[in-house]
């Protein structure tokens, strides 16, 4: 039975989802339920029934925060006297006891700075003494050089095979320890320590690098599976206890809310700058026109290109080039006929007054063929008045070219000499009735167009947001940051000065100085 109780202490590993500082360790401890611990009838004869039940329940509960130092009676006696305090930690405890009134507790704590027990890695190192034997083996086998070479190669995956605990460059800093201890020491009537005896109830090791917690022994329930408090040598102290771990509710919830609100405001500000939609200037309307010259068909020549000219009305402003030509394309002959592929995209950004109705754009196309000798011939002209209406559409434009009255002469000149730009003023295509029409037109082929038009007008009440120049904002924030940095430095220096002069002040006040003069 005794052995069974000893083995019910099992270590646990906790992957922490919350900060370790929120951890609360609760210890419930009660005397061992034995015959001797039962209340005596004489002591409780005069109490009522309920009173009996309450007084019989001797469970005590202690709650500790992570790295919270709670002093035992002997610790308080020891640290109260400055002469017993040598290390920085002990001096800190001395100051703590001077500053605040602490109540000694039967269940107290050893924090990380106490270095009460070795850290987990030290255990391993102590156990792994056989590594020395292994090292000696390597020495004997003359393998050290080879292994060192392998280990030095950080890129080699083989290097890790030879890594042992001796090679692990892991300092003690990655662990933080805390121990909750039951003080069962004997004290005399003056509360002076007679016999020191204590039992570790629970040890907690927090791995700071990987953020997990080793709990030894793990959580349990006092009613179902109580642990037995034992000294280091295994002697039972007649007490049962349980360990509970929980994370306290975030007290700084309000602060978090404030922080979140601030963050949200900052994000909104940034978001506004980012997502601010580009709007046209007030009173102006913007059109974005994408015109595609897709294909040409039914022409006679083999190689063809299209020259285009866009005439925009005076009330529209446009900075994009309005004249250009496609690449020269060789015909594609298929069962469906002959086709010249262009896929030429013309993009125009147009701006005009918002109140006016959008006029049409005048598009002039001239299909020009080239031959192997480099002669260019106009194959046809086409005109299209493109309405500036938002939307997508396509159009097949018929092309025609002017033909002279003397057909024979014109045909032979065209065949032997070539020649393009038969019409110098393209307006004749847009307004043929106003021109002298002393020639006839011959239909030659067609050009396929596709266009997409989108417009944007300023919203009523919308004004272009004013952006504060970034440089001034940056300089202001930089100034603030600088001031904060200076304040931080000042605080650090002040703390350092206080630490440096603390001993001096202590000497002055504690009366140690006269002892020097006495000697």
């Amino acid at each position: 039975m005794h052995d069974f109780k000893r083995t019910n202490k099992i270590s646990g590993v906790r992957w922490l989802k919350e900060p370790i500082h929120n951890l609360k360790i609760s210890i419930k401890i009660k005397p061992h339920d034995g015959v001797l611990s039962l209340p005596k009838f004489e002591n409780y004869a005069n109490f009522s029934d309920t009173g009996n039940a309450e007084s019989f329940d001797q469970t005590e509960e202690y709650t500790f925060k992570w790295q919270e130092k709670v002093f035992s009676l002997w610790e308080m006696q020891r640290y109260s006297d400055v002469h017993h305090c040598i290390t920085d930690t002990e001096l800190t405890y001395h100051n703590m006891l001077n500053d605040l009134e602490y109540v000694p507790s039967k269940v107290f704590t050893y924090v990380h700075d106490d270095n009460y027990k070795p850290l987990p890695l030290n255990h391993v190192r102590k156990r792994g003494n056989k590594i020395l034997d292994l090292s000696s083996c390597f020495e004997k086998l003359n393998l050290n050089e080879k292994i060192e070479r392998t280990l030095l190669k950080q890129t080699s995956s083989m290097g890790h095979l030879f890594r042992s605990e001796e090679n692990l460059d892991v300092g003690n800093e990655q662990w933080m320890a805390m121990h909750v201890v039951f003080d069962s020491s004997d004290y005399n009537e003056d509360s002076q320590l007679v016999f020191k005896q204590e039992a570790v109830l629970v040890s907690l090791y927090y791995n700071t690098t990987n953020n997990y917690l080793l709990v030894c022994p793990d959580e349990n329930q006092l009613e179902l599976n109580p642990y037995c408090a034992e000294t280091g040598t295994g002697a039972p102290l007649g007490r049962h206890y349980s360990v509970g771990l929980r994370f306290q509710e975030q007290e700084e919830g309000e602060e978090l809310n404030v922080l979140l609100n601030k963050l949200h405001k900052k994000w909104e500000k940034k978001h506004k700058q980012l997502v601010n939609f580009c709007m046209p200037p007030l009173g102006k309307k913007v059109y974005h026109l994408t015109l595609e010259i897709l294909t040409a068909a039914e022409f006679e020549a083999d190689e063809l290109y299209v020259e285009y000219t866009i005439k925009i009305p005076e009330e529209i402003q446009c900075k994009d080039p309005l004249h250009g030509r496609t690449h020269t394309s060789r015909v594609l002959r298929s069962d469906e006929g002959e086709e010249w592929c262009f896929g030429h995209i013309v993009e125009l950004a147009l701006e005009m007054d918002a109140v006016a109705d959008p006029p049409s754009l005048q598009l002039f196309f001239e299909a020009i063929s080239t031959d192997w000798w480099g002669r260019h011939r106009t194959e046809g002209y086409s005109y299209f008045a493109l309405p500036l209406q938002p939307g997508s559409d396509n159009k097949r434009l018929s092309c025609s070219r002017p033909e002279e009255l003397d057909r024979v002469e014109a045909s032979s000149r065209r065949f032997f000499v070539g020649g393009c730009n038969l019409i110098k003023d393209l307006d004749v295509l847009a307004q043929p009735q106003l021109q002298d029409a002393n020639f006839i037109f011959t239909t030659t082929g067609s050009i396929t167009l596709r266009w997409h038009s989108i417009s944007q007008s300023p919203l009523p009440g919308y004004s272009r947001p004013y952006f504060r120049p970034e440089t001034s904002g940056r300089s202001a924030s930089a100034l603030l940051l600088g001031a904060e940095a200076v304040l931080r430095q000042y605080r650090r220096a002040k703390a350092k000065l206080a630490a440096a002069t603390r001993d001096f002040r202590d000497h002055d006040g504690s009366g140690d100085a006269p002892s020097l003069t006495d000697s």
Partner: protein, 178 residues
């Protein structure tokens, strides 16, 4: 911020005279105001052999979601058709580009393809016997009209694109598209 959702498929190619299998690389290009928030703006279709009608069906799905803070730089689709011959060699057989429509809804677009042709007789003979083609070093020329006039090209087939467009929040910023 306005949103544009492009759904659809690269249906296939027709009227191509090549005998090898054809596949297509595509890339959505948009102005600096536009940001892709989901979907892949680049991709490649499967390789398919030409059927008796000289066409290949890819039916490659497209799904891309843009957010934008301006209508400038409306997205375009740049396409590059390549062939894959029987011994695993691939070269470009067609370039093309189209601007995406601005009207929401279903659209079927025919996009013509072209390819720079060999200018010298030696290149033509090499292409005829060994395969390969002239390729563009600067692919910007596909979607930009400027400087295209220097090119001498061969007309290739037509790519069919079937897309559905969803526009959101554009009207909030005074944009008219219909």
């Amino acid at each position: 911020m306005a949103e544009l959702h492009v759904l659809g498929q690269l249906q296939g190619v027709s009227n191509f005279q090549d005998s090898s299998s054809l596949f297509c690389r595509y890339s959505f290009q948009a102005g600096p105001n536009w940001t892709v928030i989901s979907g892949c703006p680049e991709g490649q279709t499967v390789s398919g052999k030409l059927d008796y009608a000289k066409s290949v069906i890819w039916s490659h799905p497209l799904d891309i979601h843009y957010i934008t803070k301006g209508i400038q730089g409306w997205p375009k689709l740049v396409l590059q058709v390549s062939c894959l011959d029987s011994i695993g060699r691939a070269w470009v057989v067609g370039y093309s580009c189209c601007s995406l429509p601005v009207v929401p809804g279903h659209h079927v677009l025919d996009i013509p393809c072209w390819l720079p042709i060999a200018t010298t007789l030696t290149d033509r003979i090499r292409e005829y016997f060994l395969g390969g083609s002239h390729q563009l070093l600067q692919t910007d020329i596909i979607n930009l009209g400027t400087d295209r006039y220097k090119l001498k090209t061969q007309s290739k087939g037509t790519i069919t694109l079937k897309i559905d467009l969803v526009l959101r929040n554009f009207t909030q910023f005074g944009v008219e598209y219909k």
